[in-house]
């Protein structure tokens, strides 16, 4: 193990004894390393706070408020002694009166007292990596005090008052229904038995129990009824989804969660996710184990780590692995790859209830569908046979990615939702088919968006053309770039221009050419370089694109490799060629603070970025009235949030119409994707 791995394992508390021995030997041999570990630890802790969620902030706030609300320890002791003394006095009087001891001594009603609190409660006993909420420590101390007094009084066994649960965090719109009235949930709010917590769509709420570290994260839309805390924790998950982090319940009853179709019991430390839907309940266990009991027949199932089980109508009640699906020899074949996953994305085979969480890099088999839950959940699917790509939008279900009969043929079965397809030119007779309940889209090679909602299907073509067929009457129309059409009852079935006149130039990357120095390769809709040019001279890839209109070029550039740094800088950018002149918008990163974003030989602004990552570029070319000069604007950014304004602007004459577009790199190798050239109408800038 390297020093860096040792340090990271040490910081995350994952160093075993052998690793710790190795680290100690390294620290002894290299005293400088001790300081490095100390520095790393402080940055690690600061990053956890700065980038983490606000749970720990809230726990500190809750613990402070709990201390401040409680009576002081002195007053608690005084009150306690008074009660004990008065109780003794009362008993003696009773005994004297009847001269017979008829029953056990009643217990002092200590449970009405607020918890005993102290300002230092969880100091050095806490494990370094675990942040236990201070309040739980305080409440536990109070519980111990109460139990101790109860034992001293030798009274009958009485269940202590339910220490309850707290709202640790509540997003906007989360409400608590109590005794017929509904109030907004707020942090630090105590939950009573019968309280119903409602979390709206897109919202979230966290609930913590007062006596241990058990925590429930509810995701909206969901509803949960709190029933009991303490040693017999019980909640009813009425609907929706929740993540449970359950502490060991030794010494008490298992935590019980009821849903319409099942009962869950967890007695050991376990991390799990429970989904209560109308037709089924689904349990996924990440860590530990829990028991799922099917209500219909009381059959119980022990579900272990990385397993899931579903209880519901017409669903097999059995443990199944949560792991990524693998194509078994002789079984279903892999047809595509999940390139990117964001939010809640699942793969399924027979039904939605049979789903498993999807991960980036996971293969998709020919018998699998994909669904995304939530408006912001997305997935990018690349076909294995070529570089055709389907980007699946939020709240979307794709039943299949290939045809049932001929599984080498691309056939996307869209049940509901939206997707964008970027289809590489298909071989003759092998066109790609996309089907919804209302329509079919036949594609040879193009880029378009398809959505199916309710009783209508809409297709909008960015580039090229598609054949769009209304299934009801088998009527087919051709929809070209800049047009859209809708198939559905009572709607005219025709191609209409997209509002704003959006149209894209047909760019055939396969016909483009790059210089040998850059070693450019076209792979479907991607253009990549096998190696970086080591010379300071630029390397370009250009493809034919005739236009005298105003245009907007955009592309995503991923830096794969930067040549060893010398005195010269490195960079990448977009190119538009006019007659004998190339217009280049690029970033050049210098080694001596000379990093710029520039229109080459015309204008530059200071701009620095890293040697890796994905960058998005836009170049807008807007001709002036005389058609000779043009206003040029450019921007570059990382991530999904595009800057509102333009970063650089320049005005210069152009040598005739645009004839070529493409990319340029300097001393680096990049992969360019999502390249398109939009023809601009009179839309706002």
């Amino acid at each position: 193990m390297t020093d860096k791995e040792l340090i990271d394992r040490f910081l995350t508390g994952e160093l075993d004894e052998a690793g710790m021995a190795q680290l100690e030997a390294e620290l002894t041999a290299h005293p400088d390393l001790v300081r490095e570990v100390a520095d790393q630890q402080q940055i690690e802790n600061a990053l956890r706070i700065l980038l983490g969620d606000d749970t720990s902030d809230q726990q500190v706030a809750v613990s402070v408020l709990a201390v401040l609300r409680a009576p002081s320890l002195d007053s608690f002791k005084t009150d306690l002694m008074k009660k004990v003394q008065s109780e003794d006095l009362r008993q003696k009087r009773e005994e004297e009166a009847v001269r017979v001891r008829t029953g056990p001594v009643p217990i002092v009603q200590l449970t009405e007292e607020k918890p005993v609190t102290a300002t230092r409660s969880v100091a050095a006993v806490r494990a370094p990596r675990r942040r236990r909420p201070l309040l739980w420590g305080l409440s536990a101390a109070a519980a111990v005090a109460i139990a101790a007094v109860a034992l001293l009084r030798r009274g009958p066994e009485t269940e202590p008052k339910d220490p309850g649960a707290f709202v640790l965090a509540a997003g906007p719109g989360v409400r608590v229904e109590r005794n017929g009235s509904s109030v907004p949930a707020r942090m630090d709010m105590m939950l009573n038995a019968g309280d119903r917590l409602s979390v709206p769509e897109g919202g979230s709420a966290k609930v913590g129990f007062a006596d241990d570290t058990t925590r429930i994260d509810l995701k909206g839309p969901s509803e949960m009824v709190f029933l009991h805390g303490g040693k017999s924790k019980r909640v009813d998950l009425v609907r929706g989804e929740a993540e449970f982090a359950v502490a060991s319940q030794t010494g008490g009853q298992p935590l019980r969660v009821t849903t319409a179709h099942s009962e869950l019991e967890a007695s050991e430390e376990v991390a799990l996710r429970l989904q209560a839907a109308a037709d089924f309940t689904r349990l996924e266990v990440r860590k530990g184990a829990a028991t799922l009991i099917r209500r219909a027949d009381r059959k119980a199932l022990r579900v272990g780590a990385d397993e899931y089980a579903v209880a519901g109508k017409d669903v097999e009640f059995a443990n199944k692995p949560l792991g990524p699906s693998k194509a078994a020899p002789g079984g279903p074949a892999v047809v595509a790859l999940l390139q990117r996953v964001q939010g809640n994305v699942y793969l399924f085979t027979k039904s939605h209830a049979d789903r498993v969480p999807a991960k980036a890099g996971q293969p998709i088999r020919d018998d699998q569908g994909l669904l995304t839950e939530g408006a912001r959940s997305t997935a990018v699917v690349d076909y294995s046979s070529d570089t055709s790509r389907v980007e699946v939008g939020g709240d979307t279900t794709v039943l299949r990615f290939v045809a049932d009969k001929d599984r080498t043929r691309k056939h996307v079965l869209l049940e509901a939702g939206t997707l964008e397809a970027d289809v590489v030119k298909q071989a003759p007779g092998r066109s790609m088919l996309l089907t919804t309940a209302q329509a079919e889209v036949n594609v040879i090679g193009t880029r378009f968006a398809l959505s199916s909602e309710g009783d209508a299907t809409r297709v909008q073509v960015e580039e090229g053309a598609v054949q769009f067929t209304q299934r009801q009457d088998r009527w087919t129309i051709v929809v070209r770039s800049g047009f859209y059409a809708v198939a559905g009852p009572g709607r005219p079935f025709e191609a209409l221009p997209v509002p704003g006149g959006i149209r894209y130039l047909d760019i055939d990357l396969g016909s483009g050419a790059g210089d040998a120095e850059g070693d450019w390769k076209v792979d479907g809709r991607s253009v990549r370089q096998a190696r970086a040019s080591r010379e300071a001279a630029a390397s370009s890839f250009l493809v034919k694109a005739d236009s005298a209109d105003n245009v907007l070029l955009e592309a995503v550039a991923e830096v794969d490799h930067v040549a060893p740094v010398g005195a010269a800088g490195w960079g990448f950018g977009l190119v538009a060629a006019f007659g004998r002149e190339n217009l280049v918008l690029r970033t050049i990163q210098g080694t001596d603070g000379g990093s710029v974003f520039e229109f080459k030989d015309a204008a530059a602004i200071p701009f620095e970025h890293g040697r890796e990552g994905r960058y998005r570029l836009k170049l807008r070319i807007e001709r002036r009235g005389d058609g000779q000069a043009a206003i040029l604007r450019g921007k570059i950014w990382q991530g999904d949030r595009e800057p509102d304004g333009w970063m650089i602007e320049n005005e210069r004459p152009l040598d005739g119409p645009m004839i070529q577009v493409g990319f340029q790199t300097v001393r680096c190798a990049c992969t360019f994707t999502s390249f398109k050239v939009k023809v601009l109408g009179n839309e706002p800038r």
Binding site: Q41, A46, L47, R48, V60, P128, R131
Partner: protein, 184 residues
Amino acid sequence: MDEQSLIQQVQEGKNLEAFGHLMDLHVRRLRAVIALSAPVPHLIDEIAHESFVFAFNRIHEFERGTSFFAWLKSIAWNLLRAEVQRFSREQVNQAKYAERRVFEVTPQKPLEHSARELDGLEKCLERVPQRLRQLLQMRYNLSFSTQEIAERAGQSAAWVRTTLCRLRRQLRDCLQDRIATENP
């Protein structure tokens, strides 16, 4: 309601709700500043907790119109110093060798310095390239395990650990450069 009005409410009536709002305003930054000074992680929340309790109980001593966060920092600094001394006495024979050595070399610096470090760290974070930022998000925001991060990034667990370690070093260097530039 602004900070000074909240403080006034607390001073006039020991208003817990107003104090809760004050905590919301400062708890994250106070914890982060303490994190950049504390020699052992578990002291962070402990000191933050005690600082707020102390501040509430002595709120009448706070001079309105001055910086409440600066006052909190000074309370936390005194508590941290005392706690470190206590900790060093009690734990020195119990801690494992590595933890003890780290504790010994961690310099005792004023929280004011840590606050400047925190400002620098936030600015340095803005410059982290997107791909590495995703790594930080997965580790520190989403609390993914190293193995989960490795699967998502399509890399080995060793790569994840090494890259994160390197990134923390770069962030430390970056914030120190910033402080040195601001105070040559």
